[in-house]
């Protein structure tokens, strides 16, 4: 019987003894359990993106009101004003309802002037 020169039984025994302390502490979790961690990261990323979008929209609404000199309006009124602005831009060319919007804007400006009196 020939002895393989790249195998040392003594070394194998010593490695076995040295590595005996490194047995898996627990059974390996099933693949689905690990994927849930990945899912958590995706959900967190989506939540962060949503929060960032909401924040930037709020900033945009406020900036829009500020640009019209209506910075001290109630937040709901600012949102309405912003929505009306978007509706106006969507209906560009269509003059229906513009008069009404203008009237509403005048009313908002009047109420704004009232807070500086």
């Amino acid at each position: 019987m020939t002895m393989e020169h790249d195998f040392d039984p003594e070394l194998a025994r010593r490695l076995e003894a040295r590595l005996a302390t490194y047995a898996p502490a627990s059974r390996i979790s099933p693949p689905l359990a690990r994927r849930s961690a990945r899912r958590r990261v995706i959900v967190a990323a989506l939540a962060a993106a949503l929060a960032a979008s909401a924040l930037s929209l709020g900033y945009e609404i406020n900036a829009s009101a500020e640009s019209q000199g209506l910075g001290c309006l109630h937040p709901i009124a600012k949102i309405q004003l912003f929505a009306n602005g978007i509706a106006d831009s969507v209906q560009a060319g269509d003059h229906r309802g513009v008069e009404g919007h203008d009237r509403q804007r005048h009313d908002e400006r009047d109420s704004h002037l009232a807070c500086h009196r």
Partner: protein
């Protein structure tokens, strides 16, 4: 009476072979885990890499090589990928691990000296001595010629003995 086609028979055999393959993988788990630790992976890294290898084993077609060798090679690749990612995204954490290894340099330890061997020598030594693969099985798993496995393994044992002062 329903006729059993050759295709059905082949499917039944392949399902049986897959079950046997997964059972053999499960039986090889501890050996491969220890092999990864011997290659230098931390306990958690070894578990992660082994888990990735198991997921790959579930998806892969039943290979002709021994499950120990197959799992070991797939797990090593996964561990190396994670290590590169770690170096890029968590350099401080990696530096901490390297520092903890450096602290053990003073003592002559089999695993420390093994970790200092070049990658190919380490892989051959672990495949032969920890996983218990034969020269041919190691050659198939690591994609080398059997003669190359022999010479690399011989050199690795010689270097390790010298470093351990034997």
């Amino acid at each position: 009476m329903t006729a059993v086609t050759a295709g059905d028979e082949r499917d039944r055999l392949s399902v049986g072979a897959r079950e046997l393959w997964l059972e053999a993988c499960e039986a090889a788990r501890t050996k491969v885990y220890r092999g990864l630790v011997a290659m230098g992976a931390s306990s958690s890294d070894a578990e992660d890499a082994l888990q990735d290898a198991f997921e790959a084993a579930m998806r892969a077609r039943v290979p002709g090589s021994k499950p120990e060798g197959w799992l070991f090679v797939v797990a090593i690749r996964s561990w190396r990928r994670h290590r590169w990612r770690g170096r890029i995204f968590h350099p401080l954490q990696v530096a901490k691990v390297v520092a903890s290894h450096a602290d053990r340099d003073g003592e002559i330890d089999l695993l420390v000296e093994l970790a200092k061997l070049p990658g190919r020598q380490r892989a051959v030594l672990v495949a032969r001595h920890v996983l218990g693969l034969s020269q041919n099985e190691t050659a198939i798993a690591l994609g080398m010629a059997p003669g190359t496995v022999g010479s690399i393994g011989h050199r690795a044992i010689k270097t390790l003995r010298e470093r351990l002062g034997e």
